[in-house]
């Protein structure tokens, strides 16, 4: 058994290693080393915990068994999961962190002696507040992530679910959380503790159902942030430095990602959270559906245009993920490169269903990461490029965002694809995108629509090159 001071030093070391793990992600070269630091940090934290308890007699075997069960499940999932399912996986993992936080809070509430927090019915006030926060945020993270998971998986419809009185109800529930926490602290009643957790589950559920599919990047980042704050809350309860540091890191990481995603859509955080975007806009645009002329072509036309180009920019979006077209796309690009055509990829911050979604898919298809560019890096290059190949993206290319102040997406940063000499737009139909607005790009002189499944079209183009 080691002294609390020694174990505190170990927790500090693992906290520092976690910081280095995130620091490593500043470039792909250092990232693998960073991940390794993270693993070492985790091993140190777990070992320190075992050593500080020192009592290996009673439940130790069971701890190892449960650890092994979880570890095997986790490893199995990590190896089996397809890269296209990454958003679902991350949402699922968030829910587990949330639930683990709730369980630890419950365990601490039922058996405070084990954590030096007092005795049942007489828990230290500070600790009680901390574990209430940890349990409530954890429960919100859990149920919110489950809903996000179901929406991403397609089990639940991605369209926003709204009902009358939704916002007042949420406000009421949030207020009741504070009142219950206050009552819990004064009475130490375990009933109130269960009610607190139940209401928090309900809030998480209600918070996420009104948010639509394309806002998922914000939701996932937000839940990432919540899982961090929940961990920090538990860290305060357990007086554990590693947990406090990690909670703060993860909390701010998720918050920054949500901010970046909101900025990518030119919407405020609250606008996204209050939800219902898309549902109302759709009816507004449905009225002015006049038939505008559209040029459409086939794979041969597209291949002809690209063969005669000297530079091509690819704009991938969620549709590419749905069609699993990334490998076909890379094969097409390989053929283009053989003909000495310069190819680069342009990624909008909110392309896909989570931050960095497109980058991972392209990396999976063996696209070198130095050919992939962010919006600010590449937006000026469209004017000099011959062909823009839009595959599965829509709203993020809509020039209306720059010209029409009436448009719901006005002010959103968009990729300047229309500046290319010609635009190839792969899409199943002319239907509007997620925001429910017509894409002006479809009717441009220099746009050629390719109506087909993204994967099939890409393969056909490759055959014709």
């Amino acid at each position: 058994m080691i002294s609390p001071n020694i174990s505190a030093i170990f927790y500090l070391i693992s906290g520092v290693l976690f910081i280095l793990a995130l620091r490593g992600l500043s470039s792909p070269e250092t990232s693998r080393q960073g991940n390794f630091f993270g693993i070492i940090g985790m091993v140190i934290a777990i070992t320190a915990t075992f050593l500080s308890i020192g009592n290996f007699s009673s439940g130790f075997v069971y701890v190892l068994i449960f650890l092994l069960i979880g570890g095997l499940i986790g490893a199995f999932i990590a190896y089996k999961i397809p890269m296209t399912a990454m958003p679902e996986l991350v949402a699922g993992f968030h829910s587990l962190v949330g639930l683990a936080a709730v369980f630890v809070a419950i365990a601490a509430f039922l058996n405070p002696d084990a954590f030096n927090l007092g005795t049942p019915g007489n828990i230290k006030l500070g600790s009680l507040i901390e574990m209430s926060i940890g349990a409530a945020v954890g429960a919100i993270t859990f149920s919110g992530s489950v809903i996000a998971f179901l929406k991403l998986q397609g089990i639940m419809s991605g369209s926003p679910i709204t009902f009358k009185g939704q916002h007042p109800l949420n406000a009421l529930l949030l207020t009741s959380i504070i009142v219950i926490t206050y009552l819990l602290c004064s009475t130490q009643s375990s009933d109130l503790f269960w009610i607190l957790i139940a209401i928090s589950f309900l809030i998480g559920f209600l918070l996420i159902i009104p948010i639509g599919g394309a806002d998922m990047p914000v939701v996932i980042s937000m839940l990432n942030s919540y899982s961090g704050w929940a961990a920090a809350g538990i860290g305060f309860t357990l007086e554990n430095t590693a947990l406090i540091i990690t909670g703060a890191l993860v909390g701010s990481s998720g918050a920054i990602l949500s901010y970046i995603m909101c900025k990518g859509m030119n919407r405020s955080f609250f606008n996204v959270i209050l939800g219902g975007f898309g549902a109302t806009e759709q009816s507004a645009s449905a009225g002015n559906k006049e038939q505008k002329p559209v040029k459409s072509g086939n794979a041969e036309d597209a291949a002809f245009l690209m063969k005669n180009a000297s530079s091509v920019i690819i704009v991938p979006g969620y549709g590419m993920a749905v069609a699993q077209a990334q490998h076909a796309l890379r094969e097409m690009v390989d053929t283009l490169k053989k003909n000495d055509i310069k190819v680069s990829y342009a990624i909008h911050p909110v392309a896909g269903r989570m931050p960095g979604h497109m980058n991972v898919l392209l990396a999976e298809a063996n696209v070198p990461y130095d050919e992939v560019f962010e919006l600010e890096e590449i937006n000026n290059d469209f004017a000099n490029a011959d062909v823009a190949f839009v595959i599965g993206a829509n709203d993020v290319t809509n020039p209306v965002a720059k010209t029409d102040p009436q448009s719901p997406i006005y002010g959103m940063p968009v990729l300047d694809v229309e500046k290319c000499k010609s635009v190839l737009f792969v899409k199943r139909s002319l239907s509007p995108g997620y925001a429910g607005i017509d894409n002006d790009l479809f009717y441009r002189e220099n746009t050629l629509m390719l109506f087909a499944d993204a994967k099939k079209m890409t393969e056909d183009i490759t055959k014709n090159l």
Binding site: A100, I244, N359, N366, P368
Partner: protein
């Protein structure tokens, strides 16, 4: 009067938020997905609380309500730790630079 240890923990917390802020802004956007999966893995260090709860029972009653929640939390956190780090590693291994011999 002595300073409450809570204040020290709060200081660590606040300073860590700032560290997180600067470190995460320097993460390249193309690695945002691995960032999420690795933050997932490290926040599962909550397993230390679960282990304490699981080992809290005495030798006659290894399983009581509190320790059962602890054991369950151990499994949940372990899924995240192994799954999170391994899937991050799998993703990061895919990020490659342009081949020079082309």
């Amino acid at each position: 009067m002595e300073i409450d240890p809570f204040i020290f923990r709060l200081s660590i917390f606040i300073l860590s938020i700032f560290i997180g802020y600067y470190v995460v802004w320097s993460v390249t956007p193309s690695l945002h997905t691995p960032l999420m999966s690795v933050t997932n893995a490290i926040s599962s260090v909550i397993i230390v609380g679960a282990i304490i709860a699981g080992l809290a029972g005495n030798s006659e009653t290894i399983f009581n309500t509190s320790s059962i929640f602890g054991f369950l939390a151990i499994s949940l956190a372990a899924i995240n730790i192994f799954g999170g780090f391994l899937v991050t590693q799998r993703m990061l291994a895919m990020y490659k630079k342009k081949k020079r011999d082309k």
